[in-house]
């Protein structure tokens, strides 16, 4: 099976004094569903940031979808991000845009046709049960609803890689289940690789998944 992520002796740090991830080796198969767990401050989100290129490797190598992220050019990074869907714990929705426009963002960036964009957004709004809220602004929505919008945005352009940073962190049962269903659907139907950073793996998972745990700067697969 093709590897979508390959890390060799990967080290990550925000400053010279403190190494968050220390010389780790791991790989993730294309089309797999992966959970990354670990205690608070263990480096889960840091690892995720490095996968979408927001944090460059301090040492070692990190290859994502064939792109070496150490010393990657802005153009190559943009290309990689165009095929990646990201869900942030704090949603990161554009406040001054409507829900509809927020979901459109990756489609606009990828240069989709207007009619295709509208059709895709309508379909996603239905999926996340927010069709009636399309014209509203993020601040008019609850946390759960905002996260569903962020989820729809991450799936809008049918990405090959979906990264989610604690996507159900502060959500109610209903919204959490909806998010997990969407992530499972993306992996199952779209064959996207899904990497989720979380504290707890939901018991309701109906598909096979891999589980990595980060502890003291090292990563190991939980079997």
């Amino acid at each position: 099976m093709d590897k979508v992520i390959v890390a060799e002796n990967l080290s990550l740090s925000y400053s010279k004094d403190e190494t968050i991830i220390n010389k780790v080796n791991f790989s993730i198969d294309s089309g797999s569903f992966v959970f990354i767990t670990g205690a608070s401050g263990s480096g889960k989100s840091t690892l995720l940031k490095s996968i979408y290129g927001a944090l460059k490797p301090t040492n070692g190598s990190l290859v994502v979808a064939g792109v070496e992220l150490k010393g990657v050019t802005k153009a190559k990074l943009n290309l990689l991000r165009k095929h990646t869907g990201i869900v942030f714990q704090d949603y990161k929705l554009v406040k001054e845009w409507t829900i509809e426009k927020n979901i459109m963002l990756p489609l606009i960036i990828n240069g989709y046709d207007k009619s295709v964009t509208q059709h895709q957004v309508d379909s996603l709004l239905k999926h996340v049960r927010l069709k009636h809220q399309a014209g509203k602004y993020p601040k008019e929505l609850s946390g759960g609803e905002q996260q569903r919008v962020a989820m729809a945005r991450a799936l809008a352009h049918n990405p090959v890689l979906i990264l989610a940073d604690e996507p159900t962190g502060n959500l109610d049962e209903y919204s959490s289940q909806l998010i997990w269903n969407l992530l499972e659907g993306a992996n199952n139907q779209l064959k996207a690789t899904v990497i989720v950073v979380t504290h707890h793996i939901p018991e309701s998972m109906s598909i096979d998944y891999k589980h990595f745990n980060i502890e003291f700067g090292s990563i190991h697969e939980v079997t």
Binding site: Y14, K49, Y52, A54, L55, K74, A75, L77, N78, L79, L80, R81, K82, H83, T84, I86, K92, L93, V94, K95, E96, W97, L105, P106, I108, I109
Partner: protein, 270 residues
């Protein structure tokens, strides 16, 4: 409301720069018109032992536009009462030749000095009267006026640029989050900053049109025209094509520069 306030700050800042620019242009035009007016009443008097050739004198300095011989007849007529005809004829022959030299434009004191020296190089010329003292006073007054207006315009531009740089920080903060989110989804720089450029160009257009209406209104008032007439000049107060064109170029360039600073200063959040 907050967004409108942000726009208004940039529009007002740009408007004050355009106002300073147009004021300086008007003053510059007024001074040029006044100089053109002065040159009609200013000339240099040259005294020569022999008749001067028009072309030779014209060639001696490029400021010279015309040489007009001055006849001594008026003075001689007064002397004819007490002198015989023969003596008058003799006097006419022995008198030097007087010429009035007209110049192409109002000269600086240095140009007058150079011109005097050039004229005196001609062997037959014995005296050049440039009325330098009164000329110098007028010239220096004009120069002082122009400098004062220039300093005023510059200080206004500096204060406005300081205001704009403060505005820049607000815009940087305001657009940072959106640009950051767009960057996470792989938006190229031009797409991330398109909104910013569009907004700043709209502000530049608003400021330019406000300045256009302001100066068009002032141009249409009788009072302005009368002030120029009082000092004997006619000045184009506001040229709706060239002046407005310049305003547009200045305002759009400044706002694009402002937006570019924000784009360059934007750093992706880690």
């Amino acid at each position: 409301m907050k967004s409108l306030k942000n726009h208004l700050s940039l529009v007002i800042a740009l408007l004050s720069i355009l106002f300073s620019l147009q004021t300086f242009i008007i003053v510059d035009r007024s001074i040029d018109a006044y100089k053109a007016n002065l040159i009609n009443n200013y000339s240099i008097v040259v005294v020569s032992q022999k008749k001067l050739k028009n072309e030779t004198i014209k060639r001696s300095h490029n400021l010279i536009s015309e040489i007009i011989p001055l006849t001594p007849d008026n003075v001689i007529q007064r002397l004819e009462i007490d002198m015989s005809k023969k003596n008058v004829e003799l006097l006419k022959l022995s008198l030097p030749k007087f010429y009035k030299i007209k110049l192409k434009n109002y000269p600086s004191p240095k140009e007058i000095n150079d011109l005097t020296k050039s004229l005196l190089k001609t062997a037959t010329i014995i005296k050049v009267e440039s009325f330098a003292k009164s000329h110098d006073t007028t010239y220096k007054l004009l120069l002082l006026f122009k400098t004062v207006i220039f300093v005023f315009a510059c200080s206004m531009v500096i204060v406005t640029i300081l205001l704009i740089s403060k505005e820049l920080k607000i815009w940087q903060f305001k657009h940072h989050e959106r640009m950051n989110i767009m960057s996470m989804f792989g938006a190229p720089t031009w797409l991330r900053s398109a909104v910013l450029f569009r907004l700043s160009i709209v502000d530049a257009l608003v400021a330019s049109f406000l300045a256009f209406f302001l100066f068009s209104y002032l141009d249409s008032t009788k009072w302005i025209g009368e002030q120029f007439k009082n000092i004997g000049i006619e000045v184009v107060f506001f040229d709706k094509i060239t002046d407005f064109g310049l305003m547009l170029i200045v305002a759009i360039s400044l706002s694009i520069l402002l937006a570019s600073f924000i784009v360059i200063g934007h750093k992706e959040e880690v």
